[in-house]
Symmetry: C2
């Protein structure tokens, strides 16, 4: 008979409105047989090692219709990207002992019935947690957003908001490698120091210290911005629009400042799109999964040679997951927020 183990889970209690709170989630412990049921076909049983806290998860906590992703189910575990180890498999592509990254549940063990969303991990001479960040969805987001949407050229002036986050820290480093002048904004002095001292940004500023975002951008970009990598939306976008150059590009990756508002802040300076002939383009990483092998080929040597670094903020233990996830929206995390379920 298969061993039965207890399985801690993070449960969404109810759909969330406004800012999410830790108390919107609760811990539950169930039990699970460490073997797939007889006759399973295509499913795999995994032990979750690391879980990824990502801003897009906020939308899944609300009741969604016609969105690109599905709502979590109140009363059930939430889910997201993670790094997992295969314990049992009924799918020909995966076998016991394989390491994977992709969509899994916020619980100690998961049965994954849609393994087409999983990538097998072939390179283990880097921290496994990197597959929730630099080597996972956020890494490919930064790569595809910057290289496919922003049309970077040497000498371009690049501005990145939420620049020390999972995606922003990489976009800045890619832009520096591409020969750009790079400035980032973040929400604490510690994060701004990281931008300049760790990630090699030319400049950085704490947007919370600035009364006049338009003026601070003009100070750092007297000749205007060629590329804006948008992670925050709202007032920052309005200030950026006034500082864009002719024929500049905005890659719209996220708008974290808006996710917890009942009604979005209005953006008023869109007329600049015309006067400055700006291309503003939204994108989702799901459209670029085919680039993952090419991306890995580029990024792995850069990591090993120390030419790209990555800062993670790791919460230990699944029970600290809800607070880590909520922390994203107040900017409590420094770097990529990860939850270590168990040190694999």
């Amino acid at each position: 008979m298969a061993e039965e183990v207890s399985n801690k889970q993070v449960i969404l209690k109810n759909y969330v409105r406004g800012f999410p709170k830790e108390s919107d989630m609760e811990m539950r412990t169930t039990s699970l047989k460490l073997k797939l049921p007889e006759g399973s076909c295509g499913a795999i049983l995994v032990k979750n090692l690391y879980l990824s806290c990502d801003p897009y998860m906020r939308s899944r906590m609300s009741k969604l219709e016609g969105h690109y992703t599905e709502s979590f189910t109140p009363g059930s575990p939430i889910g997201g990207f993670g790094v997992s180890e295969v314990l049992d498999s009924s799918h020909s592509n995966f076998k016991k002992g394989d390491l994977l990254w992709g969509l899994t549940g916020w619980e100690e063990h998961s049965i994954i019935t849609a393994p087409e969303t999983l990538f097998k991990i072939e390179h283990t001479d880097v921290p496994l947690s990197y597959y929730t960040g630099i080597l996972g969805m956020p890494g490919l987001t930064a790569y595809s957003g910057f290289f496919e949407i922003c049309s970077p050229k040497k000498g371009d002036n690049v501005f990145i908001s939420a620049a020390s986050g999972a995606v922003g820290q990489l976009v800045g480093q890619f832009a520096k490698l591409a020969g750009c002048y790079v400035v980032g904004s973040a929400g604490t002095k510690e994060k701004v120091d990281l931008l300049k001292q760790k990630f090699g940004f030319d400049e950085g500023f704490n947007y919370k210290d600035e009364q006049d975002l338009e003026a601070v951008l003009k100070r750092y970009f007297p000749d205007g911005i060629d590329i804006y990598f948008e992670n925050v939306g709202g007032k920052m976008l309005d200030a950026v629009l006034l500082n864009m150059r002719l024929h500049s590009r905005i890659a719209v990756c996220g708008m974290i400042s808006q996710y917890n508002l009942e009604q979005s802040e209005g953006v008023q300076n869109l007329f600049c799109l015309i006067t400055k002939r700006i291309r503003m383009e939204g994108f989702l990483v799901f459209d670029y999964y085919h680039l993952y092998p090419k991306f890995l080929q580029m990024i792995l040597p850069l990591i090993k040679e120390g030419k790209i670094v990555y800062v993670e903020d790791i919460a230990e233990g699944l029970e600290n997951g809800p607070s880590a996830l909520i922390g994203l929206f107040s900017g409590r995390n420094v770097g990529k927020q990860v939850v270590a379920v168990t040190r694999g």
Copy 2:
């Protein structure tokens, strides 16, 4: 001695705030010698035949800084696109009797000192006034905006706001020729009838009759919009964003609903750019002047074969110019608004 004639002019009295009024302009009569001064170099003297009323002129009535165009000068004649006849020339490209279109003054005669902004009219077997519209700046705007920015494909669902205007009526006809499904919005029943009966749009609606723009767009585009040709901004843009399809395109040509507001309406649904991977791109016709010969080659046969039609609203006499220009902002014009200075 050169003949001296009286020269009626439309003068901007003061910079305008909010909605412009006829009384922001006044008529003045000066006199002018019908010959360039001795030693002129590069200047040309023209008789203005038709003047073009275009929405972008609103911005020139205010004090501008760092804009793509310059403010008019209070106390001096306003200017814009027009069709003119050369009376005297000190420029080697132009000679007496030539017909031109390009930037001129709102007056009976003008001395143009920057003739690089002028196009010689070679084809006179079409109405000359067309060179303020279908064969001039608005025509090239429609052509470059639709074909260069919108990436149209056969079967695309196309929505055009201000669809009976100088640019919109052409975009709709280009889209029909390209095999698209085309819907336009306008502000009166008469204009909506034009869309369907004259320009061959599949559908049209009067936005002033609609309480819920999001719902009316959903009704006409149950599968969503592939291409939005944006002429109005504000609430319409917000409703459109909710109805765009995956990987759709928005060409931002104008935002006439916003030009007279002290503060723009905020646009709240920009997050749709991400979820639907929308490309939203502003453009100005000035970047596409090199396409003018190619455009003419395409459009002239279409006009002569009756495959493209063009509706003009012609005000007779320069003294009726201010009221015609102001009328653009309340949508009083039906089709392209022109001022016939004198029937050349």
